[in-house]
């Protein structure tokens, strides 16, 4: 008995210590906060359902077990009960409606920049997953980092997500939910940090051998510190295409900082083939030029986007 008690104490301690860091329920920004609220709201209803079923289940089992009713008891013939069946069809429907309304509202809310800071222009960061690293480009600041991010607090960030090869998922649990990165596709994701600090980000979608270590750090800091960091980064060595092509090879790298971004050569949201061509050694001089032409097309599209952004700036 004592050992049972000790064992259950042990389990309780293990569970509680495990629960102390539920990142998803400890949001550090408005996006994660909306999601955490939705999760807590749904958990409430779910607990209600679980309790109702468990209580009914226990009562029925205790009351109608054979040991109690005796082997002589012959159960009645009951084929059903229309009223009861309507009740347990309608009540779940009501619960689902109550859950669906905030779900749909939140789905659409997350497509926009957070409301509280909507007067600020979002900072655009291109996040590109490459087996097995993360490349971040700040087109307006004209800097590029690998495996780490700096963002100002209380400022919406618009991530433009793409992949150079396998499908990844860009996820910073403290700041909000994830979204896929895909080659030849561009996804957009708004996130924001309200609390300065270091957060962990990672690829959440399996990408093979190096998937586990495909992580990055996010530093959320005050606007001044952020501006300082940007100025510093702009003095970093220039990103060359040769250097960038090295990043396209499979593997892990340390954190890196460059001035200039890779968007001048390739936009992975438009071009699904770049990394494969680099790996196959198919990007020789001539094709480089052609590639330039291609990416000029895509570039002009992107410029268009940027123009739109800058128009919004001027408003």
């Amino acid at each position: 008995m004592k050992s049972m008690l000790a064992l259950s104490m042990f389990f309780a301690v293990m569970v509680l210590s495990g629960c102390s860091n539920l990142t998803v329920l400890d949001p550090k920004g408005p996006v994660a906060e909306q999601q955490a609220n939705l999760i807590l709201f749904s958990i409430g209803f779910m607990l209600f359902i679980v309790v109702v079923v468990f209580v009914l289940f226990t009562l029925i089992l205790v009351k109608y077990r054979e040991r109690k009713s005796g082997p002589e008891y012959e159960p009645p013939h009951i084929e059903g009960n229309v009223f009861l069946e309507i009740v347990w069809t309608v009540i779940p429907i009501i619960i689902l409606v109550v859950l669906a309304i905030p779900t749909v509202q939140t789905i659409f809310a997350l497509e926009e920049a957070p409301e509280a800071t909507s007067h600020k222009d979002p900072i655009v960061i291109h996040a590109t997953s490459v087996d097995w690293k993360w490349v971040f480009s700040y087109p307006e600041e004209n800097i590029e980092t690998v495996n780490y991010l700096h963002i100002p607090e209380d400022h919406p960030i618009l991530f433009k997500l793409a992949s150079a090869d396998s499908m990844g998922s860009f996820w910073i649990p403290s700041l909000g939910g994830q979204e896929y990165t895909m080659s030849g596709m561009m996804n957009e994701l708004y996130l924001q940090a309200d609390v300065p600090g270091e957060y962990r980000g990672r690829n959440a979608n399996f990408t093979g051998e190096g998937f586990t270590e495909q992580t990055f750090t996010v530093t959320a800091e005050s606007e001044e510190d952020y501006e300082e960091w940007v100025a510093e980064a702009q003095d970093a060595p220039e990103l060359t295409q040769e250097k960038y092509n090295e990043l396209m090879l499979k593997g892990h790298v340390e954190e890196m900082t460059f001035s200039e971004t890779h968007l001048q050569w390739v936009d992975h949201g438009m071009d699904a083939e770049y990394a494969t061509k680099v790996r196959n050694g198919e990007l020789n001089e001539e094709e480089n030029l052609k590639q330039d032409d291609d990416s000029h097309d895509s570039h002009s599209d992107m410029n268009h986007d940027d123009k739109k952004d800058s128009e919004e700036h001027s408003h």
Partner: protein, 645 residues
């Protein structure tokens, strides 16, 4: 290709597997030769078209696959117990979770259920065999050969490692150049033929082979669940067949359906996969629902509460199952309207499922509940499945799913529904129908030990995973750091996993123990059953029913027993010769050729795949010119059988 590329080398675990496979094979061959059982094996089992024997073979294969998938699970738990463990490297871990998922779904859950359907459904509807007995044997053998092809990958050539979902571009030739992914494609393709044939076969069997007096709304609920499952199979499996074929073309013949290069569309794979994949989870859950309904009704000694609602709710679930596939990738960026639509359709599934839960509860209400092992599994299903179900609703809320997706929250959810749904049902059904298959019961005391240990282990293993997910642990990572704070919950999960393993071992021992010591059945009705399978004698004769039974309502056998209690004498009718199908060696030979063709394609050895396909065609031709129309069981033989019972 060099020999050391052909065989997987360099890993002590694999060498251990090599040795154990070799020893098992040698042992089996030796035993068969020593006891002079080769002929018996061929004439009684390999060539059989008897649905009961095919069902038993399905179940044996499924239990073997449960062992294989379970060993994979144990290895994963061993690796994840403590941070930065070096037991498995990333590649090996990736292979193991890929094969674990694929085997458990395709080669364990489905064949286990199809095995039970094979044994039970024809007996429940008063049929002497299925509509297409030959096809049934083809189904089993293609499944079996597909499973074997998939399973040899870990010693020959290397296992697939792109996850059971095989998302491209990762599973494409550029990022997974080895043969492992080919094994996945060909193994599933060959097994999928069998599943599709089963779908057609049992659809026709249930619709056309019922005793004429059984109306649709008098069919046992397990038969209903099987019928609806077969409809889902017929609509869903062709999608998988096409998707697998397209990816096979991409990998073997240089096409560009799903590639990054030359305008391929990787997202299309995810869509096709889940258009099959989501109905697939209902393929493995609806028969489970049917079994729980039968077992709960039998051991509560009451007819099923709300029979019609149970049937309609399954029809609704089957329809909705084709309208929810996008919820597997809400995070693909499809936009608010699409995500909202699929959120709502997904949540809607909770309504018919909830109806079923309450109907089960009210079947128990005012019943006389006997806690047999089969009943314990069915009862434990209710609370555990509710936990899996409500977390499913949480996952259906797309905006929240962005945080759950790809995490252990999801892993916990689908294990809660698949284990407490499908696996509990397999165990419950095995205990329940075991006397029909083997003419003795499984030992109840050992069965209860298995039950308590397994259920405790299951909850200990998977409940902590919900919290791991909320703590940000992604699925499919092969290790984590001490700073992540995920260790204590992982330790709990591993302890639970060990308990589940122990429970499984006790079950296996129980099979042996009961074979040796369980008293043989004297009647065909050990549980005081309600449906027609219990009206057959023990052992069940190969023609099932000497006379076709007369059905007067739902719970047909119960009604018969009531009538006899009220003094009605069963009338003696003279026996007539019974027409039965002949056994055939063609299905097993054809499937061996499928295996050869598949193996050749895995390694791109064209001579071998062509040889195999010619063999397949040849066996089909042979079958086409087979004028064997079956045989008649003589009245004397029937009398002999019926006398002994």
């Amino acid at each position: 290709m060099k020999l050391d590329e052909f065989f997987v080398t360099g890993d002590p675990l694999i060498y251990g597997a090599d040795v154990s496979i070799a020893l098992t094979l040698i042992g089996a061959i030796f035993a068969l030769t020593y006891f002079k059982k080769w002929k018996w094996l061929w004439t009684e089992w390999l060539t059989t078209v008897d649905h009961k024997k095919l069902g038993i073979m399905y179940i044996i294969a499924a239990v073997l696959m449960l062992f294989r998938g379970g060993v994979d699970a144990m290895l994963m738990r061993a690796q994840l117990t403590v941070p930065d463990a070096g037991f498995l490297d990333a590649n090996h871990y990736n292979e193991i979770f890929t094969t674990h998922g694929t085997i458990m779904i395709i080669f364990m859950a489905m064949p286990f259920l199809i095995g039970l359907i094979n044994v039970v459904v024809p007996l429940q509807i008063g049929a002497r065999d299925v509509a297409y007995p030959f096809l049934n044997a083809v189904s089993f053998w293609t499944f079996f050969m597909g499973a074997m092809l998939f399973n040899i990958s870990f010693v020959i050539g290397g296992s697939p490692s792109a996850g059971w979902t095989s998302y491209v571009p990762l599973a494409g030739l550029e990022l997974s150049p080895g043969v492992g992914q080919n094994y996945y494609l060909l193994g599933l393709q060959i097994a999928g033929i069998g599943t599709l044939l089963t779908g057609i076969n049992f659809l026709v069997t249930i619709l056309k082979m019922r005793v004429p007096s059984m109306k649709l709304m008098q069919m046992p609920i397990f038969t209903w669940s099987s019928l609806i499952t077969m409809v889902i199979i017929i609509f869903a499996f062709p999608v998988l067949t096409v998707a697998l074929a397209l990816m096979t073309f991409d990998r073997l013949f240089g096409s560009h359906f799903f590639t990054m290069m030359d305008g391929g569309m990787p997202m299309l794979w995810a869509n096709l996969f889940w258009i099959w994949g989501h109905p697939e989870v209902y393929i493995v859950i609806l028969p489970a629902f049917g079994m729980f309904s039968e077992i709960i009704s039998t051991f509560a000694r009451k007819t099923l509460f709300g029979y019609k609602a149970m049937v309609y709710s399954m029809v609704v679930i089957a329809g909705l199952s084709f309208l929810v596939w996008v919820h597997h990738f809400f995070t693909m960026g499809a936009g608010g309207a699409v995500n909202s639509f699929f959120s709502i359709t997904t949540m809607l599934i909770a309504v018919p499922t909830g109806v079923k839960i309450f109907n089960w509860l009210f079947t128990l209400y005012k019943g006389r509940i006997r806690f047999t092992t089969a009943m314990l599994w069915s009862l434990a299903f209710i609370p555990n499945f509710v936990i899996g179900g409500v977390t499913g609703v949480m996952l259906a809320m797309a905006a929240a799913d962005y945080q759950y997706h790809n995490t252990y929250f999801l892993v916990a959810h689908f294990h809660y529904v698949l284990i407490s749904g499908t696996v509990y049902a397999c165990f419950a059904g095995l205990h329940f129908w075991y006397p029909k298959m083997f003419n003795h019961r499984l030992n109840e005391r050992l069965g209860k030990w298995t039950f308590w240990i397994f259920v405790a282990g299951f909850n200990l293993c998977f409940f902590p995973m919900y919290f791991l997910g909320l703590a940000g642990m992604p699925r499919r990572v092969y290790t984590y750091g001490i700073g992540d704070g995920w260790m204590s919950l992982n330790v709990l999960a591993t302890m639970g996993g060990v308990l589940m393993g122990i429970g499984f071992l006790i079950l296996v021992y129980n099979i042996y123990y009961s074979f040796r010591y369980s008293p043989r059945e004297t009647t065909g009705d050990p549980w005081d059953g309600r449906t027609l399978e219990w009206s057959t004698p023990a052992p069940v004769p190969h023609y099932n029913f000497a006379h076709l039974p007369e059905v007067k309502g739902h719970d047909a056998f119960w009604i018969m027993k009531e009538e006899i209690k009220q003094g009605k004498k069963p009338e003696k009718k003279p026996y007539k010769p019974i027409h039965m199908p002949s056994y055939s060696g063609v299905p097993v030979v054809m499937s061996v050729f499928f295996f050869i063709a598949g193996f050749g394609m895995v390694f791109s050895w064209n001579w071998m795949s062509i040889l195999g396909l010619i063999g397949v065609l040849a066996t089909m031709v042979i079958r086409s010119f087979d004028y064997d129309k079956g045989f008649y069981v003589s009245v004397e033989e029937i009398e002999e059988h019926e006398k002994t019972t």
